[in-house]
Symmetry: C2
C-alpha cells in the first residue's frame, strides 16, 4: 500500500465522473477536488486559516521556486513545508519540470537533465529526475510529482515522441531515486496532442508503480475541444484504482468537463491570478469589480455565495479598495474565487453522489459564459 | 452630554498618566489607547476580524483621502464608514487638514479655506471648516476632528501666531457647522513650538464646547525632547474631564512619554508602514526580518509575543515571504506591529491601575533602543 492512495467510492453510470477519496499522511480528502496553488509556500495573500474556512484540502507548492528560494535545505530544517508554512492539510509539490521548460532560451534539455538559469539571479542551476525527487523529499509534501517535460503546443510528432519517451525514462529514474516511504509519487502522462503517444505514455507509466497519475501538457494553448478530445483519449488508458490529476486547469467549465472525462484532481493559478486583477468568478462567468458600474453597488459580489467576502463586503467597497490600490482588495477576491472553485467541486461531488452529474454539467454549461 | 465623552477612572499620583474610558456610540473604549490607521477605509492588509483579535478599539480613517476617493457621498450611501468597511468598534476621522497642508505648493490657504489639487488626478478641490465637517458627517465616524492648520517645523513666531489664531476661528466655524448629534467633535490645539501660543490655543478651544482635544503640530520633525517639552506645556492647560489625543505619534517610547504627560489617545502609520518594509517592533527596539541573519532562524519574531504571527510563523518563513515579495509577509508583520502597540497600551493601562506606571516607564525606557 502506498502512503498516498486513491479509493474509488462511486462511478457515474452516465458519464466518466467518479467520486473518490484521496488518502494521504495529512488526512483523507474528497475527489473530484480543486487544489489552490501556493507557488512560493503561500497561497498568495491568504492565511492557512482562510484556506481551512473555505475547506481547502490539498494545496500545491512549487519545486522550481522553492529550490531557488529559500532553498529546500531551509524548508527541510524548518521540518518540511507543512511546518514551514503552517498548513495542516494535504500538500503536493510539482516537480519543477513545467517551470524549467517554460524558461525557453534560458534552459538546455539533455538526457541527463535540464540546465537552466535562475529567473531570480541568473545563476546556472540543474534539475533532473534524481535532483527533483530529492528536492521534493526535502520539501516533504504528501504528494510529489515525477520530473517530466511539458511538450509545447503545437509540436510535431517526432518532437512529441522523443520527448514523451524521455519523460517515460525520467519517470523510471524518479521511482528509483525515491527514498521516503511517507510520500506518494505521481507519474505524469505526456504525449502532446497525439492519441497514440498518450496511450504509449499512459501504458508505460501504468506499468510502473506510481501512487497516481498526472495528466500534463494540456491547457497549453490548444483549443478547448482538442483538450477534451486528448483528455478523453488519456483517461481511458488509466487504471480505475489510481487518482488522475489534470495539471494546470482551473476554470469551472474545464473542471466540469474534466470530471465528466474521469479526472479527480485539478490545480491552476487562474482563480488567484484573476482575483488580483480585479475579476471575480461567478457561476455564470465573471464580474470585473473594478468597473465603474459597481461604484455605488452595495450588493455582494454574488448574493448566493457564502464566502467570507460575500458575507461581509459590497462590490462598491471592493471596487474602492481596487481603485485605491489597497492590498485587502486582492485578498477579498482571492478568497471569493477560491471559495467558488472549492464549492463548485463540492457541488460536483454531491451531484455524482446523487446520480445527477450529467444534469448538473448540462445546467452549468448552459448558464456559463467563458 | 456629548455623544462621545471621556470618563476619568484614575490618575497616577506620581506622573501625569491617567486611566480612562472613552464612551462612543459604537462602544466604550479604554484609554490610554493606540488607534490603528485605516487611511482609505482599510487598515492596510488587514480584515476587521484581525483587528478585533488584536483588541483594536478605535481606528482612524482619513477625510482627505475618502473625500477624493471614493467620495463621501458613496460612503454615506453605503450607510457610513462602519458599514462600508464592516468595522463595528469605534472610528475617528481626521479633518483632512494635515494632508492638505502637506501638499505644499499644491495648496493655497486663505481665511475662507484651502484650495488644493488632488494628488490622484490633479483636479482643483476645496476644503474649509464647513466642508470638512459636512464630509465627516457623511462619513459618519464616532469622533470627528476640527479643520485646522498643522504648523510646519521650524516656523517663526509671527507665522505660528497667525496660523494658530486662524485655527481657533476655524474651530469655532466647525462647531457651528456641526449638525449630527451622534458624533463627537474634537478641537485641535496648535501653537507650534511656542508655549505661549499653545496656552492661547488650549485656552481658546477649551472655552468652546468640544467633546475632546487633539494635540496637533507635534512629531513634525522637531527633536524628541522639544516635543515632550511642548506637550507638557499643552496638556497642563487641558481640562481633566476631556480626552487628549496626541496626533500622529506611534512609537512605544513616544507613547510612554505621552502617557506620562497625560495623553489618552495616539495614532500613527508608523507600525503599519515599517511592517510593510520588513521591520518588526519589539519591546527592545526593532528587528529587520529581511536580514540574512534570519534565513535559518525558526524562532518567532518575539518569543514572548502572543500575536497570531508569533504563534504561527518563524522569522525564516517571514523572511522568505519578504524576499519572495509575497503579500502575506506584509500582513504578518502588520499584525505583529499593531498587536505590539495595542498590547503595550494595555500594559500601560494595567501599570496605571496598579500604581506602578513610573516604574513601568523607567523599565521600558531602560531597555528600549530607538
Amino acid at each position: 500500500m502506498h502512503a498516498v492512495y486513491y479509493e474509488l467510492i462511486k462511478e457515474c453510470s452516465r458519464s466518466g465522473a467518479r467520486l473518490g477519496k484521496l488518502h494521504t499522511p495529512h488526512g483523507t480528502f474528497d475527489t473530484p477536488m480543486f487544489m489552490p496553488v501556493g507557488t512560493q509556500a503561500t497561497v498568495k495573500t491568504l492565511s492557512p486559516e482562510e484556506l481551512y474556512e473555505m475547506k481547502a484540502q490539498v494545496i500545491l507548492a512549487n519545486t522550481y521556486h522553492l529550490f531557488l528560494r529559500p532553498g529546500e535545505d531551509i524548508v527541510k530544517k524548518a521540518g518540511g513545508l507543512h511546518k514551514f508554512m503552517n498548513y495542516r492539510n494535504g500538500m503536493l509539490t510539482d516537480s519543477g519540470g513545467f517551470q524549467v521548460f517554460s524558461l525557453g532560451a534560458m534552459r538546455k534539455i539533455e538526457e541527463e537533465g535540464v540546465t537552466f538559469r535562475s529567473h531570480i539571479d541568473g545563476s546556472k542551476r540543474f534539475l533532473n529526475p534524481e535532483v527533483a525527487t530529492k528536492v521534493q523529499e526535502d520539501l516533504g509534501a504528501d504528494i510529489i510529482m515525477a520530473f517530466d517535460e511539458c511538450i509545447p503546443y503545437p509540436a510535431d510528432f517526432a518532437y512529441a515522441k522523443t520527448s514523451t519517451e524521455r519523460t517515460t525514462r525520467w519517470a523510471q529514474r524518479c521511482l528509483k531515486a525515491k527514498k521516503r516511504e511517507d510520500q506518494g509519487l505521481f507519474g505524469i502522462v505526456q504525449g502532446g496532442m497525439y492519441p497514440d503517444l498518450r496511450k504509449y505514455s499512459a501504458d508505460s507509466l501504468t506499468s510502473m508503480d506510481f501512487a497516481g497519475y498526472g495528466i500534463g501538457g494540456l491547457s497549453v494553448g490548444e483549443p478547448h475541444e482538442l483538450m477534451y478530445d486528448v483528455l478523453a483519449q488519456t483517461t481511458c488508458h488509466l487504471p480505475k484504482d489510481k487518482a488522475r490529476y489534470l495539471m494546470g486547469v482551473g476554470t469551472p467549465d474545464c473542471l466540469v468537463e474534466g470530471v465528466n472525462l474521469g479526472v479527480d484532481m485539478f490545480d491552476c493559478v487562474f482563480p488567484t491570478r484573476v482575483a488580483r486583477n480585479g475579476t471575480a468568478m461567478l457561476p455564470t462567468g465573471r464580474l470585473v469589480v473594478r468597473n465603474a458600474a459597481y461604484a455605488e453597488d452595495f450588493l455582494p459580489i454574488d448574493e448566493n455565495c457564502g464566502c467570507y467576502t460575500c458575507r461581509n463586503f459590497s462590490r462598491a467597497y471592493i471596487r474602492h479598495l481596487f481603485k485605491a490600490e489597497e492590498i485587502f482588495a486582492l485578498r477579498l477576491l482571492t478568497i471569493h474565487n477560491l471559495h467558488f472553485l472549492l464549492k463548485f467541486s463540492q457541488d460536483m461531488r454531491t451531484a455524482i453522489a446523487e446520480d445527477r452529474f450529467p444534469e448538473f454539467r448540462e445546467n452549468f454549461l448552459e448558464h456559463y459564459q467563458r
